[in-house]
């Protein structure tokens, strides 16, 4: 029983240590052979997933887990001789963090399995798997840390690994250009995040989120820091009108990477929520900040979907849909923020709107990941992403077609798939806040369906084209990767309340309960 108890006690640290070890050892093991390297990468990601499951189970059962690095005991967040200040790097894993870590690990595992075959024909795989595992480290670190500077470090790991993966196909100049755009914008965003952290540190002599939150005055400098943090992270999440990098980067990255970049973007979305709810909480002007998120959300929904419709590159089209879907999350959580200061409205519809937005995060990661993987499967067999050149693949790629249909129906919000469940929660709750916003959200869903009907027709329908006469279904590992995500899309759609009760409601409650978040750190002396 020593191993399980040790694993449980150090799960927050292991959640990062395992993929980090996996990443750095991958190039070394790659020298022994591709089979050993691949097995090692799969093992590292599988272990990460298992640790995430253990950690999430523990958090949901016992509440927030605090892990102070270097302390005599991991839960001692405030040393006795520190004057009441949490000086160490501290991970604060509440239900929201656990939720994010869990689904990021699931998508990461599916993506890695898929990559075994999809990348098998490319060179530089040592670097590919190392970067994929490093991206995992960045994402998991961002969602688990309770320290602002530490958050910045993981944001940078996320950005650097992401940019390198976008430019992975170095033989194509546009891929490098897309990677450069992603890197430059991420760097500027990271700089602003760092500057905002400096402003907060200068005022409150602390970097711990809970500590700063307990001292928050909402001064002019705090407002500047808030704007920098929210706008920089919204840009990283791909919110309109700062989304321009998204179609460039998503379309040029290998499809498996794109599926994971969606999760990386959602880690930034998590950052916005953590800043707004846990760092500032009721100190901020909830209505104004809420409406900023809502406006960004509505713009993202509408511009994203209307830009997707005329696209001819399937991955570029899907990238615009990713922007559009991010809008739903911003809308749902934005409504929650707007009514945060009014307990009656929060109870009446604010909580459900937030739960809908948070539920949409995991649903989007599953179905958008699935759709990007199907796009990758088509590219793997045909060598093109051009919708004008594709057609008739339903004859030869039946499983890919079925997986695409599941993903397309889910993203369009068609019941009984998971996208419908979270969108319904958003529609109903947002309607009570402002009916027009809800109507816009529904219209965007209809346009999404129209767009994916076009994609489905273009790729799979029609007679079997002579140039694709020899095309056959993709190998089993790619199908398994898609199958894992498709399974979650279906299960989350059929049993949505179980997911909401188990993961979403605790996550939303953890975000709203700023007092609880602060007490989990400062109460640990």
């Amino acid at each position: 029983m020593i191993v399980p108890s040790l694993l449980l006690q150090h799960a927050p640290a292991l959640l990062l240590a395992v993929p980090m070890l996996g990443a750095f050892a991958t190039p070394l093991l790659g020298r022994l052979g591709s089979g050993i390297r691949n097995a090692w990468a799969v093992l590292a990601m599988l272990c990460t997933l298992l640790i995430a499951v253990v950690l999430a189970t523990e958090v949901l059962a016992t509440g927030t887990i605090v892990y102070a690095f270097g302390a005599a005991a991991p839960h001692l967040s405030v040393p006795l001789d520190s004057g009441g200040i949490p000086i160490r790097i501290i991970f604060t894993v509440d239900a929201m963090s656990a939720f994010m870590a869990l689904f990021a690990s699931i998508v990461g595992f599916a993506v890695l399995l898929y990559s075994l075959k999809s990348q098998s024909r490319n060179s530089g795989q040592d670097g590919y798997y190392a970067l994929l595992l490093l991206l995992t480290v960045g994402i998991l670190g961002m969602v688990c840390t309770g320290d602002l500077f530490n958050f910045f470090v993981f944001l940078e790991i996320n950005s650097l690994a992401g940019a390198a993966l976008v430019a992975y196909r170095v033989d194509k100049g546009v891929a490098v250009e897309a990677g450069l755009k992603y890197a430059v914008l991420s760097t500027l965003g990271g700089l602003l995040v760092l500057f905002a952290i400096a402003l907060l540190y200068g005022q409150y002599d602390a970097l711990n989120i809970a500590m700063i939150a307990s001292r928050m005055q909402f001064t002019l400098l705090d407002k500047v820091a808030l704007v920098m943090l929210v706008v920089a992270l919204a840009m990283k999440a791909g919110a309109v009108p700062m989304h321009f990098w998204t179609p460039d980067a998503y379309s040029m990255a290998p499809s498996a990477v794109t599926a994971f970049l969606v999760v990386a973007s959602q880690a930034s979305l998590y950052g916005i929520f953590r800043v707004v709810f846990s760092l500032y909480g009721l100190a901020l002007d909830c209505l104004t900040v809420g409406w900023v998120l809502i406006i960004l959300g509505v713009l993202s929904m509408f511009v994203g979907v209307t830009m997707a419709i005329p696209q001819k590159d399937v991955k570029r089209l899907m990238a615009y849909h990713a922007v559009s879907q991010t809008g739903y999350m911003l809308l749902g959580v934005g409504v929650g923020v707007a009514v945060l200061g009014n307990q009656d409205l929060l109870t009446a519809y604010g909580r459900i709107a937030m739960e809908g937005g948070i539920f949409h995060i995991i649903n989007h990661a599953m179905y958008k990941g699935l759709l990007f993987l199907t796009a990758g499967a088509i590219f793997y067999r045909t060598g093109t992403r051009n919708l004008n050149k594709l057609g008739g693949l339903g004859h030869s790629m039946k499983w890919t077609m079925v997986f695409f249909m599941i993903g397309a129906l889910a993203i369009a919000g068609i019941p009984p798939f998971n996208g419908f469940a979270s969108k319904l929660m958003i529609y109903e709750s947002v309607f009570l806040f402002n009916p027009l916003l809800s109507i816009i959200a529904m219209v965007v869903s209809i346009l999404t369906l129209a767009s994916f009907v076009k994609v489905f027709h273009s790729i799979f329908m029609g007679p079997k084209l002579p140039e694709y006469a020899d095309v056959r279904e993709v190998p089993a590992p790619m199908l398994i990767g898609m199958g894992i995500l498709a399974l979650f899309v279906i299960l989350f759609g059929i049993f949505p309340q179980q997911v909401v009760d188990l993961l979403i409601t605790p996550a939303a409650a953890a975000l709203i309960d700023q007092g609880g978040y602060i007490a989990s750190i400062l109460g640990g002396a």
């Binding site: 704007v227 706008v231 920089a232 004008n388 057609g391 929660m425 109903e428």
Partner: protein
């Protein structure tokens, strides 16, 4: 079983059971129709060729409607919107940076930092 599938949405509820039953029935019907079809259709000859009023069958590429042709009417009707929005996606990095910084300046005004 049906109860655990019910999603509470605050003001209402949703249960996917009817949709699942509808999906299953539709699938069964489709399968039955498929079963009624010819078990071993001929793969060659005139029977597999479509009848187009006596005209010769065009090449497969010629009859396939590619993706670019779909929703032409939609994009044409929203030409005013698209002519403004599409050029914003210029692909130029400095444009992207300007949008980013511009949005930040706008939000700074909105939250009352700059008056």
């Amino acid at each position: 079983m049906a109860a655990i599938m019910t999603l509470q949405t605050g003001t209402g509820f949703w249960n996917p059971i009817i949709w699942i039953i509808a999906f299953v029935i539709a699938f069964v019907f489709a399968y039955l129709i498929w079963m009624l079809g010819e078990k071993d259709p001929k793969k060659t000859g005139d029977l597999i060729r479509p009848y187009l009023s006596g005209n010769p069958e065009p090449a497969k590429e010629a009859v396939h409607v590619p993706g670019g042709n779909l929703y032409w009417g939609f994009t044409e009707a929203l030409q005013g919107y698209y002519t403004r929005v599409v050029p914003l996606h210029s692909g130029i990095l400095t444009d992207y940076l300007l949008w980013f910084l511009g949005v930040m300046a706008f939000v700074l005004v909105l939250v009352g930092v700059i008056v």
